[in-house]
Protein backbone atom coordinates (compact mmCIF):
# COMPACT_ATOMS: atom_id res chain seq x y z
CA UNK A 1 0.00 0.00 0.00
CA UNK A 2 1.37 3.40 -0.95
CA UNK A 3 1.63 5.80 1.95
CA UNK A 4 1.48 9.34 0.70
CA UNK A 5 3.60 12.00 2.26
CA UNK A 6 1.45 15.09 2.10
CA UNK A 7 1.44 16.15 5.68
CA UNK A 8 4.22 17.49 7.80
CA UNK A 9 6.20 14.95 9.70
CA UNK A 10 9.79 15.76 10.50
CA UNK A 11 11.95 13.52 8.30
CA UNK A 12 12.54 11.43 11.33
CA UNK A 13 14.73 8.73 9.84
CA UNK A 14 17.51 11.28 9.68
CA UNK A 15 16.64 12.88 12.95
CA UNK A 16 16.21 9.84 15.20
CA UNK A 17 19.42 9.99 17.08
CA UNK A 18 19.81 13.73 17.25
CA UNK A 19 16.24 14.75 18.09
CA UNK A 20 16.32 16.79 21.25
CA UNK A 21 12.94 18.19 22.28
CA UNK A 22 14.44 20.78 24.61
CA UNK A 23 16.74 22.05 21.89
CA UNK A 24 13.92 22.20 19.38
CA UNK A 25 11.81 24.18 21.83
CA UNK A 26 14.62 26.71 22.08
CA UNK A 27 14.83 26.90 18.30
CA UNK A 28 11.08 27.47 18.00
CA UNK A 29 11.09 30.11 20.70
CA UNK A 30 13.93 31.92 18.96
CA UNK A 31 12.15 31.74 15.61
CA UNK A 32 8.91 33.13 17.04
CA UNK A 33 10.83 35.86 18.87
CA UNK A 34 12.58 36.71 15.60
CA UNK A 35 9.28 36.87 13.73
CA UNK A 36 7.85 39.13 16.39
CA UNK A 37 10.79 41.52 16.44
CA UNK A 38 11.32 41.56 12.72
CA UNK A 39 7.73 41.47 11.40
CA UNK A 40 5.54 42.34 14.40
CA UNK A 41 3.44 39.14 14.31
CA UNK A 42 3.25 37.67 17.79
CA UNK A 43 2.89 33.88 17.81
CA UNK A 44 4.97 33.45 20.94
CA UNK A 45 2.08 32.27 23.10
CA UNK A 46 0.37 30.00 20.60
CA UNK A 47 -0.35 26.37 21.49
CA UNK A 48 2.99 24.64 21.10
CA UNK A 49 2.10 21.30 19.49
CA UNK A 50 -0.08 23.00 16.94
CA UNK A 51 2.34 25.75 15.97
CA UNK A 52 5.15 23.22 15.85
CA UNK A 53 3.17 21.16 13.36
CA UNK A 54 2.59 24.20 11.17
CA UNK A 55 6.24 25.20 11.29
CA UNK A 56 7.29 21.71 10.22
CA UNK A 57 4.80 21.85 7.38
CA UNK A 58 6.57 24.94 6.08
CA UNK A 59 10.04 23.44 6.71
CA UNK A 60 9.10 20.42 4.57
CA UNK A 61 7.45 22.53 1.89
CA UNK A 62 10.56 24.71 1.54
CA UNK A 63 12.83 21.65 1.41
CA UNK A 64 14.60 22.65 4.63
CA UNK A 65 15.83 20.44 7.45
CA UNK A 66 15.20 22.08 10.79
CA UNK A 67 13.73 25.04 12.62
CA UNK A 68 16.96 27.01 12.71
CA UNK A 69 17.23 26.79 8.95
CA UNK A 70 13.68 28.11 8.66
CA UNK A 71 14.57 30.94 11.01
CA UNK A 72 17.48 32.08 8.87
CA UNK A 73 15.33 32.03 5.74
CA UNK A 74 12.33 33.74 7.34
CA UNK A 75 14.44 36.60 8.69
CA UNK A 76 16.19 37.22 5.39
CA UNK A 77 13.42 36.49 2.89
CA UNK A 78 10.08 38.25 3.41
CA UNK A 79 8.40 36.06 0.79
CA UNK A 80 9.05 32.99 2.96
CA UNK A 81 7.56 34.86 5.91
CA UNK A 82 4.48 35.55 3.80
CA UNK A 83 4.08 31.84 3.07
CA UNK A 84 4.67 30.94 6.71
CA UNK A 85 2.13 33.53 7.80
CA UNK A 86 -0.51 31.82 5.68
CA UNK A 87 0.35 28.49 7.36
CA UNK A 88 0.17 30.05 10.81
CA UNK A 89 -3.15 31.81 10.32
CA UNK A 90 -5.29 29.10 8.74
CA UNK A 91 -8.90 29.97 9.30
CA UNK A 92 -11.41 27.16 9.42
CA UNK A 93 -15.01 28.23 9.75
CA UNK A 94 -18.49 27.50 8.44
CA UNK A 95 -21.98 28.97 8.48
CA UNK A 96 -24.13 27.73 11.35
CA UNK A 97 -21.25 25.58 12.49
CA UNK A 98 -22.45 23.29 15.32
CA UNK A 99 -26.16 23.86 14.60
CA UNK A 100 -27.14 22.77 18.11
CA UNK A 101 -25.37 25.86 19.43
CA UNK A 102 -27.53 28.17 17.29
CA UNK A 103 -30.63 26.31 18.37
CA UNK A 104 -29.66 26.73 22.01
CA UNK A 105 -28.84 30.39 21.44
CA UNK A 106 -32.31 30.89 19.96
CA UNK A 107 -34.02 29.11 22.81
CA UNK A 108 -31.97 30.25 25.79
CA UNK A 109 -30.25 33.53 24.98
CA UNK A 110 -32.68 35.31 22.66
CA UNK A 111 -35.39 35.59 25.39
CA UNK A 112 -32.84 37.34 27.60
CA UNK A 113 -31.72 39.69 24.84
CA UNK A 114 -35.33 40.59 24.10
CA UNK A 115 -35.47 42.43 27.40
CA UNK A 116 -32.65 44.77 26.35
CA UNK A 117 -33.32 48.02 24.48
CA UNK A 118 -29.96 47.86 22.72
CA UNK A 119 -27.63 44.91 22.27
CA UNK A 120 -23.90 44.89 21.55
CA UNK A 121 -22.32 41.67 20.29
CA UNK A 122 -18.64 41.00 19.70
CA UNK A 123 -17.48 38.25 17.37
CA UNK A 124 -13.82 37.94 18.38
CA UNK A 125 -11.67 36.23 15.76
CA UNK A 126 -14.42 36.22 13.14
CA UNK A 127 -12.14 35.03 10.29
CA UNK A 128 -13.97 35.20 6.96
CA UNK A 129 -17.26 36.03 8.68
CA UNK A 130 -19.43 32.96 8.12
CA UNK A 131 -20.50 32.90 11.76
CA UNK A 132 -21.19 36.64 11.76
CA UNK A 133 -23.62 36.22 8.87
CA UNK A 134 -25.16 33.22 10.62
CA UNK A 135 -25.78 35.26 13.77
CA UNK A 136 -27.14 38.19 11.73
CA UNK A 137 -29.64 35.85 10.05
CA UNK A 138 -30.70 34.45 13.42
CA UNK A 139 -31.14 37.93 14.91
CA UNK A 140 -33.19 39.06 11.90
CA UNK A 141 -35.46 36.05 12.19
CA UNK A 142 -35.96 36.74 15.89
CA UNK A 143 -36.80 40.39 15.18
CA UNK A 144 -33.87 41.71 17.20
CA UNK A 145 -31.46 42.73 14.49
CA UNK A 146 -32.53 46.39 14.39
CA UNK A 147 -31.55 46.72 18.06
CA UNK A 148 -28.17 45.08 17.60
CA UNK A 149 -24.72 46.28 16.79
CA UNK A 150 -22.29 43.47 15.93
CA UNK A 151 -18.56 44.10 16.16
CA UNK A 152 -16.71 41.52 14.07
CA UNK A 153 -12.97 41.56 14.60
CA UNK A 154 -9.97 39.63 13.43
CA UNK A 155 -6.21 40.03 13.47
CA UNK A 156 -5.99 39.43 9.73
CA UNK A 157 -6.90 42.16 7.26
CA UNK A 158 -7.27 39.79 4.32
CA UNK A 159 -9.92 37.60 5.95
CA UNK A 160 -11.78 40.68 7.24
CA UNK A 161 -12.01 41.96 3.67
CA UNK A 162 -13.57 38.63 2.63
CA UNK A 163 -15.97 38.90 5.55
CA UNK A 164 -17.04 42.40 4.48
CA UNK A 165 -17.68 41.33 0.90
CA UNK A 166 -20.03 38.56 2.00
CA UNK A 167 -19.24 36.33 -0.95
CA UNK A 168 -18.90 32.67 -0.05
CA UNK A 169 -18.18 29.55 -2.11
CA UNK A 170 -21.15 28.03 -3.89
CA UNK A 171 -19.98 24.49 -3.23
CA UNK A 172 -20.54 24.81 0.52
CA UNK A 173 -24.13 26.01 0.31
CA UNK A 174 -25.57 22.52 0.58
CA UNK A 175 -23.71 21.93 3.85
CA UNK A 176 -24.67 25.40 5.10
CA UNK A 177 -28.31 24.87 4.17
CA UNK A 178 -28.37 21.63 6.18
CA UNK A 179 -26.74 23.43 9.10
CA UNK A 180 -29.24 26.28 8.84
CA UNK A 181 -32.18 23.90 8.96
CA UNK A 182 -30.68 21.97 11.88
CA UNK A 183 -30.09 25.30 13.62
CA UNK A 184 -33.84 25.99 13.59
CA UNK A 185 -33.85 28.34 10.58
CA UNK A 186 -37.27 29.80 9.90
CA UNK A 187 -37.15 30.54 6.18
CA UNK A 188 -35.53 29.16 3.05
CA UNK A 189 -31.78 29.61 3.38
CA UNK A 190 -31.60 30.71 -0.25
CA UNK A 191 -33.68 33.78 0.69
CA UNK A 192 -30.49 35.28 2.09
CA UNK A 193 -28.20 35.07 -0.91
CA UNK A 194 -27.96 35.31 -4.68
CA UNK A 195 -25.56 33.37 -6.88
CA UNK A 196 -22.97 35.76 -8.21
CA UNK A 197 -19.29 35.99 -9.20
CA UNK A 198 -18.97 32.21 -9.20
CA UNK A 199 -20.00 32.17 -5.54
CA UNK A 200 -22.95 33.42 -3.54
CA UNK A 201 -23.42 36.99 -2.37
CA UNK A 202 -25.22 37.39 0.95
CA UNK A 203 -27.81 40.13 1.42
CA UNK A 204 -26.23 43.48 2.35
CA UNK A 205 -29.04 43.91 4.90
CA UNK A 206 -27.20 41.35 7.05
CA UNK A 207 -24.17 43.62 7.50
CA UNK A 208 -26.11 46.85 7.96
CA UNK A 209 -25.42 46.78 11.70
CA UNK A 210 -22.05 45.03 11.56
CA UNK A 211 -18.77 46.83 12.14
CA UNK A 212 -15.78 44.90 10.77
CA UNK A 213 -12.55 45.91 12.40
CA UNK A 214 -8.98 44.83 13.03
CA UNK A 215 -8.39 43.69 16.58
CA UNK A 216 -5.57 41.64 18.03
CA UNK A 217 -6.60 39.53 21.02
CA UNK A 218 -2.95 39.15 21.99
CA UNK A 219 -2.06 42.83 22.20
CA UNK A 220 -5.18 45.02 21.95
CA UNK A 221 -7.45 46.08 24.75
CA UNK A 222 -11.18 46.09 25.21
CA UNK A 223 -13.03 48.69 23.18
CA UNK A 224 -16.59 48.64 24.53
CA UNK A 225 -18.95 46.90 26.91
CA UNK A 226 -20.80 44.00 25.35
CA UNK A 227 -23.90 41.96 26.09
CA UNK A 228 -22.64 38.98 24.10
CA UNK A 229 -19.12 37.87 23.21
CA UNK A 230 -18.66 35.01 20.75
CA UNK A 231 -15.23 33.47 20.37
CA UNK A 232 -15.52 29.95 19.05
CA UNK A 233 -12.49 27.80 18.28
CA UNK A 234 -10.06 30.70 18.42
CA UNK A 235 -8.55 30.28 21.87
CA UNK A 236 -7.69 26.63 21.21
CA UNK A 237 -4.76 27.97 19.18
CA UNK A 238 -3.38 29.82 22.22
CA UNK A 239 -1.40 28.38 25.10
CA UNK A 240 -2.83 28.32 28.60
CA UNK A 241 -1.17 31.58 29.66
CA UNK A 242 -2.51 33.51 26.70
CA UNK A 243 -5.92 31.91 27.11
CA UNK A 244 -6.05 33.18 30.67
CA UNK A 245 -5.10 36.67 29.52
CA UNK A 246 -7.80 36.74 26.83
CA UNK A 247 -10.37 35.42 29.29
CA UNK A 248 -9.47 38.40 31.45
CA UNK A 249 -10.09 40.68 28.47
CA UNK A 250 -13.47 39.07 27.79
CA UNK A 251 -14.49 39.30 31.41
CA UNK A 252 -13.62 43.00 31.50
CA UNK A 253 -15.51 43.57 28.24
CA UNK A 254 -18.75 41.86 29.27
CA UNK A 255 -21.60 43.63 30.98
CA UNK A 256 -22.83 41.99 34.17
CA UNK A 257 -25.00 38.99 33.17
CA UNK A 258 -23.48 39.20 29.70
CA UNK A 259 -23.14 36.03 27.62
CA UNK A 260 -19.85 34.39 26.64
CA UNK A 261 -19.89 31.76 23.90
CA UNK A 262 -16.96 29.40 23.31
CA UNK A 263 -16.42 26.55 20.85
CA UNK A 264 -18.14 23.26 21.59
CA UNK A 265 -14.94 21.58 22.88
CA UNK A 266 -13.58 24.58 24.75
CA UNK A 267 -13.87 24.92 28.48
CA UNK A 268 -13.59 27.48 31.23
CA UNK A 269 -12.55 24.66 33.58
CA UNK A 270 -8.89 25.43 33.03
CA UNK A 271 -9.32 29.21 33.26
CA UNK A 272 -8.95 31.38 36.36
CA UNK A 273 -12.28 33.02 35.42
CA UNK A 274 -14.26 29.79 35.81
CA UNK A 275 -15.76 31.01 39.10
CA UNK A 276 -17.13 34.16 37.45
CA UNK A 277 -19.52 32.43 35.07
CA UNK A 278 -22.54 30.18 35.20
CA UNK A 279 -22.96 27.67 32.41
CA UNK A 280 -26.40 27.23 30.90
CA UNK A 281 -27.75 23.70 31.07
CA UNK A 282 -26.79 21.34 28.31
CA UNK A 283 -23.61 20.69 26.44
CA UNK A 284 -23.43 24.04 24.64
CA UNK A 285 -20.62 26.33 25.74
CA UNK A 286 -22.82 29.28 26.61
CA UNK A 287 -21.78 31.01 29.82
CA UNK A 288 -23.28 33.93 31.74
CA UNK A 289 -21.18 36.39 33.68
CA UNK A 290 -22.48 36.07 37.20
CA UNK A 291 -20.01 37.96 39.34
Amino acid sequence: MAVQVDDAVPSAAAAVSRYDPELERIEIELLLEGIYRSYGFDFRSYAYASIRRRLWKRIEAEGLHDVSELQARVLHEPQIMERLLLDLSINVTAMFRDPSFYRAFRERVIPILRTYPFIRLWHAGCATGEEVYSMAILLQEEGLYERCRIYATDINEVVLQTAKEGIFPLDRMQEYTENYIAAGGKRAFSDYYVAKYGGVLFSPSLTKNVVFSLHNLVTDRSFAEFNVILCRNVLIYFDKTLQAKVHGLFYDSLAMFGILVLGSKESLRFSPKVECYEQFNGPEKIFRKAR
Binding site: M1, V3, R53, I90, I236, R269
Partner: protein, 199 residues
Protein backbone atom coordinates in the same frame (compact mmCIF):
# COMPACT_ATOMS: atom_id res chain seq x y z
CA UNK B 1 14.02 1.53 27.63
CA UNK B 2 12.66 4.52 29.43
CA UNK B 3 9.35 4.44 31.24
CA UNK B 4 6.12 4.97 29.38
CA UNK B 5 4.26 8.27 29.89
CA UNK B 6 1.46 7.85 27.38
CA UNK B 7 -0.33 5.25 25.27
CA UNK B 8 -2.01 6.50 22.08
CA UNK B 9 -4.52 4.28 20.29
CA UNK B 10 -5.84 4.71 16.75
CA UNK B 11 -8.90 2.92 15.39
CA UNK B 12 -11.20 3.36 12.44
CA UNK B 13 -13.71 1.02 10.80
CA UNK B 14 -14.62 -1.70 13.29
CA UNK B 15 -13.08 0.33 16.07
CA UNK B 16 -15.97 0.34 18.50
CA UNK B 17 -15.83 -3.41 19.02
CA UNK B 18 -12.04 -3.44 19.15
CA UNK B 19 -11.83 -0.52 21.59
CA UNK B 20 -14.47 -2.09 23.82
CA UNK B 21 -12.42 -5.27 24.10
CA UNK B 22 -9.17 -3.39 24.67
CA UNK B 23 -10.61 -1.08 27.33
CA UNK B 24 -12.45 -3.89 29.11
CA UNK B 25 -9.15 -5.77 29.33
CA UNK B 26 -7.27 -3.02 31.15
CA UNK B 27 -7.06 -3.35 34.93
CA UNK B 28 -8.45 -0.64 37.17
CA UNK B 29 -4.96 0.33 38.26
CA UNK B 30 -3.65 0.89 34.72
CA UNK B 31 -1.83 4.08 35.55
CA UNK B 32 -0.57 5.36 32.20
CA UNK B 33 -2.98 7.76 30.47
CA UNK B 34 -4.39 6.35 27.26
CA UNK B 35 -5.50 8.66 24.43
CA UNK B 36 -7.87 7.25 21.82
CA UNK B 37 -8.46 8.50 18.29
CA UNK B 38 -11.45 6.78 16.69
CA UNK B 39 -12.60 7.96 13.27
CA UNK B 40 -16.29 8.79 13.27
CA UNK B 41 -18.86 10.98 11.67
CA UNK B 42 -18.74 14.74 11.96
CA UNK B 43 -21.86 14.90 14.02
CA UNK B 44 -21.08 12.07 16.40
CA UNK B 45 -21.94 12.87 19.98
CA UNK B 46 -20.30 11.68 23.17
CA UNK B 47 -21.71 8.19 22.88
CA UNK B 48 -18.31 6.51 22.48
CA UNK B 49 -17.07 7.76 25.84
CA UNK B 50 -20.17 6.66 27.71
CA UNK B 51 -20.11 3.23 26.04
CA UNK B 52 -16.49 2.74 27.06
CA UNK B 53 -17.10 4.10 30.55
CA UNK B 54 -19.54 1.26 31.16
CA UNK B 55 -16.70 -1.21 30.55
CA UNK B 56 -13.98 0.10 32.82
CA UNK B 57 -13.28 1.48 36.28
CA UNK B 58 -10.76 3.85 34.67
CA UNK B 59 -11.98 7.42 34.10
CA UNK B 60 -13.15 7.96 30.50
CA UNK B 61 -12.86 11.59 29.44
CA UNK B 62 -14.42 13.42 26.50
CA UNK B 63 -11.51 15.67 25.71
CA UNK B 64 -11.85 19.43 25.81
CA UNK B 65 -9.08 21.81 24.82
CA UNK B 66 -6.11 21.84 27.26
CA UNK B 67 -7.33 18.73 29.10
CA UNK B 68 -4.61 17.72 31.57
CA UNK B 69 -3.20 14.17 31.20
CA UNK B 70 -3.71 12.23 34.39
CA UNK B 71 -3.09 8.65 35.50
CA UNK B 72 -5.83 6.02 35.27
CA UNK B 73 -7.66 7.95 32.55
CA UNK B 74 -8.77 7.23 28.99
CA UNK B 75 -9.06 10.27 26.73
CA UNK B 76 -11.37 10.25 23.70
CA UNK B 77 -10.67 12.66 20.83
CA UNK B 78 -13.84 14.56 19.91
CA UNK B 79 -15.41 14.22 16.48
CA UNK B 80 -14.33 16.88 14.00
CA UNK B 81 -11.22 18.06 15.87
CA UNK B 82 -7.61 16.99 15.69
CA UNK B 83 -6.17 16.15 19.09
CA UNK B 84 -2.54 16.99 19.81
CA UNK B 85 -0.38 15.97 22.72
CA UNK B 86 1.40 18.74 24.54
CA UNK B 87 3.59 18.54 27.60
CA UNK B 88 1.14 17.33 30.22
CA UNK B 89 -2.11 18.08 28.42
CA UNK B 90 -4.11 17.67 25.21
CA UNK B 91 -4.86 20.47 22.76
CA UNK B 92 -7.52 20.47 20.06
CA UNK B 93 -7.39 22.10 16.65
CA UNK B 94 -9.86 22.60 13.83
CA UNK B 95 -7.11 22.46 11.21
CA UNK B 96 -8.11 21.03 7.84
CA UNK B 97 -8.67 17.31 7.55
CA UNK B 98 -5.53 15.26 7.03
CA UNK B 99 -6.12 12.75 4.27
CA UNK B 100 -9.88 12.90 4.74
CA UNK B 101 -9.77 12.48 8.51
CA UNK B 102 -10.44 14.73 11.46
CA UNK B 103 -9.53 13.56 14.00
CA UNK B 104 -6.44 12.19 12.29
CA UNK B 105 -4.55 9.37 14.01
CA UNK B 106 -1.30 10.51 12.40
CA UNK B 107 -1.63 14.02 13.83
CA UNK B 108 -2.11 12.72 17.37
CA UNK B 109 0.61 10.08 17.07
CA UNK B 110 3.21 12.49 15.68
CA UNK B 111 2.57 15.02 18.43
CA UNK B 112 2.70 12.25 21.06
CA UNK B 113 6.04 11.02 19.78
CA UNK B 114 7.39 14.55 19.93
CA UNK B 115 5.95 15.43 23.33
CA UNK B 116 7.14 12.18 24.95
CA UNK B 117 10.03 10.87 22.88
CA UNK B 118 11.03 7.42 24.05
CA UNK B 119 8.07 7.30 26.40
CA UNK B 120 5.12 6.77 24.05
CA UNK B 121 3.42 3.56 23.00
CA UNK B 122 1.39 3.76 19.77
CA UNK B 123 -1.31 1.18 19.11
CA UNK B 124 -2.93 0.74 15.69
CA UNK B 125 -6.17 -1.24 15.62
CA UNK B 126 -8.70 -2.14 12.94
CA UNK B 127 -9.52 0.19 10.06
CA UNK B 128 -10.12 0.44 6.34
CA UNK B 129 -7.56 3.11 5.49
CA UNK B 130 -3.89 3.80 6.24
CA UNK B 131 -4.16 6.51 8.91
CA UNK B 132 -1.82 5.90 11.83
CA UNK B 133 0.98 4.22 9.87
CA UNK B 134 3.12 7.31 9.48
CA UNK B 135 2.40 8.47 13.00
CA UNK B 136 3.41 5.08 14.37
CA UNK B 137 6.66 5.22 12.37
CA UNK B 138 7.29 8.62 13.94
CA UNK B 139 6.69 7.35 17.47
CA UNK B 140 9.21 4.55 16.92
CA UNK B 141 11.73 6.91 15.30
CA UNK B 142 11.45 9.03 18.43
CA UNK B 143 12.35 6.00 20.53
CA UNK B 144 8.86 4.86 21.48
CA UNK B 145 7.14 1.50 21.01
CA UNK B 146 4.64 0.23 18.48
CA UNK B 147 1.82 -2.27 18.88
CA UNK B 148 -0.32 -3.35 15.93
CA UNK B 149 -3.41 -5.52 15.98
CA UNK B 150 -2.79 -8.69 14.00
CA UNK B 151 -4.59 -7.94 10.73
CA UNK B 152 -5.98 -11.48 10.75
CA UNK B 153 -8.02 -10.57 13.86
CA UNK B 154 -9.10 -7.15 12.56
CA UNK B 155 -12.47 -6.31 11.02
CA UNK B 156 -10.61 -3.81 8.85
CA UNK B 157 -7.25 -5.27 7.85
CA UNK B 158 -6.04 -2.32 5.78
CA UNK B 159 -5.07 -0.06 8.65
CA UNK B 160 -3.00 -2.51 10.70
CA UNK B 161 -1.45 -3.84 7.47
CA UNK B 162 -0.41 -0.34 6.42
CA UNK B 163 1.09 0.22 9.88
CA UNK B 164 3.08 -3.01 9.66
CA UNK B 165 4.39 -2.05 6.24
CA UNK B 166 5.91 1.13 7.67
CA UNK B 167 6.74 -0.27 11.12
CA UNK B 168 7.75 -3.91 10.58
CA UNK B 169 9.35 -4.01 14.01
CA UNK B 170 6.02 -3.40 15.77
CA UNK B 171 4.70 -5.95 18.27
CA UNK B 172 1.91 -7.78 16.42
CA UNK B 173 -0.80 -9.24 18.61
CA UNK B 174 -4.32 -10.55 18.30
CA UNK B 175 -6.85 -8.13 19.68
CA UNK B 176 -7.54 -10.14 22.83
CA UNK B 177 -3.87 -10.00 23.90
CA UNK B 178 -3.23 -6.30 23.42
CA UNK B 179 -4.51 -5.10 26.82
CA UNK B 180 -2.28 -7.57 28.69
CA UNK B 181 0.66 -6.58 26.51
CA UNK B 182 0.14 -2.91 27.34
CA UNK B 183 0.08 -3.81 31.02
CA UNK B 184 3.36 -5.65 30.69
CA UNK B 185 5.26 -2.98 28.73
CA UNK B 186 4.08 -0.23 31.05
CA UNK B 187 4.65 -2.38 34.13
CA UNK B 188 7.53 -0.41 35.58
CA UNK B 189 5.22 2.59 35.73
CA UNK B 190 2.15 0.78 36.99
CA UNK B 191 3.96 -1.17 39.67
CA UNK B 192 4.60 2.05 41.53
CA UNK B 193 0.90 2.72 41.40
CA UNK B 194 1.41 6.28 40.35
CA UNK B 195 2.71 7.48 37.05
CA UNK B 196 3.89 11.06 36.94
CA UNK B 197 3.04 12.99 33.79
CA UNK B 198 5.09 16.10 33.35
CA UNK B 199 3.32 19.43 33.27
Amino acid sequence: MSEISLVVVGASWGGLTALSQLVAGLPGDFAVPLAVVQHRSWHADNLLASLLQDLTPLRVVDVEDKEPLEPRSIYIAPANYHMMVDDGYLSLTTDPMVRFSRPSIDVTFVSAGDAYPGATVGVVLTGANDDGARGLRHIVDRGGRAVVQDPATAEGKAMPSAALLLVPEADVLPLNEIAAHLVSITASASSRGERKVKG
